[in-house]
């Protein structure tokens, strides 16, 4: 819609709600892109049923389907993405919903559930598999040292490294969660890693020294 048409759409004499109800998907989409949030609501109300059915038929779960529908409409509001004249709005919307649902389904399939983890732990225990106790203690000690070293870093570096290493967050996610710029996140990661390495190197000297003393006294 041209800006004059958009202006007319916003300021027609008829009631705005009725105005939106009879507007085409393209008019609503363009009004939404022009900042009219109620047009998004009308689009959602118009297409929610079908959108939900498409997602549910792939995911097999009502709640997950709701989540995907919300995500897709949120991303539509935030970034748009449809090019009028390319394919119909509904065709485009369904394709996006389908892609997103398949991604969700695959992520779910690749992520072991708590039940899977528990059963594999039980199997390992029964079969005598898994790491031996000494290895588990060594792994725990390393992890404790890493966490202690992390706590000695400046707070900003600590936050970025914790998100990156303990919550598997990548740079864009860290930027979003800390409301920081990409340069700032990358720089904090780099400086944090260097400081952590230096700290661990110093600690290693102390641990080696302690071990030597223990061995001499034994």
């Amino acid at each position: 819609m041209h800006s004059s048409a958009l202006h007319a759409f916003h300021h027609q004499d008829i009631a705005p709600k009725a105005d939106r109800a009879i507007a085409s998907d393209q008019e609503l989409y363009e009004a939404m892109r022009g900042g009219d949030d109620l047009s998004l609501r009308t689009l959602m109300e118009r297409h929610r049923g079908m959108a939900h059915a498409v997602c549910r038929n792939i995911l097999g779960d009502e709640c997950e389907a709701d989540d995907v529908v919300q995500e897709v409409f949120f991303s539509l509001w935030k970034r748009g993405g449809w090019t009028p004249g390319d394919v119909r709005f509904t065709t485009w919307l369904h394709r996006v919903l389908i892609n997103r649902s398949i991604d969700h389904r695959r992520r779910r399939r690749d992520t072991p559930t708590e039940a899977d983890l528990l059963s594999s732990a039980v199997e390992n225990f029964g079969a005598g598999g898994g790491p031996d106790p000494e290895e588990m203690i060594a792994r725990q000690e390393t992890s404790d040292r890493l966490r202690s070293a992390l706590l000695r870093l400046p707070t900003a570096q600590q936050q970025v490294l914790s998100l990156h290493y303990f919550e598997d967050a990548d740079v864009p996610e860290i930027m979003a969660r800390l409301a920081a710029t990409e340069n700032s996140v990358r720089s904090l990661l780099k400086r944090g890693r260097m400081a952590l390495r230096e700290d661990l190197r110093k600690q290693k000297k102390i641990w080696t020294h302690d071990l030597d003393r223990t061995a001499r006294h034994a």
């Binding site: 498409v54 792939i58 065709t91 394709r95 389908i98 389904r105």
Partner: protein, 68 residues
Amino acid sequence: MTLTELHATLDRLGPDISAWPSVLAEPALDLISISDAAKDLFAAATEASLSADAPAAPRWQAAASTAP
């Protein structure tokens, strides 16, 4: 799975792929994820099943809609 096979499977089992056996569901989703034609076919099947499930319009509404 080919587009024709997807079409046939949608006709036979309906569009609820989550209820399909995984030997059929996974190849179907592989195809749907890469083909716009397969996506459109699946969406059309879902839409058709929604229309079939929708309750019939009340008699007065049907009469009003056919009025000149």
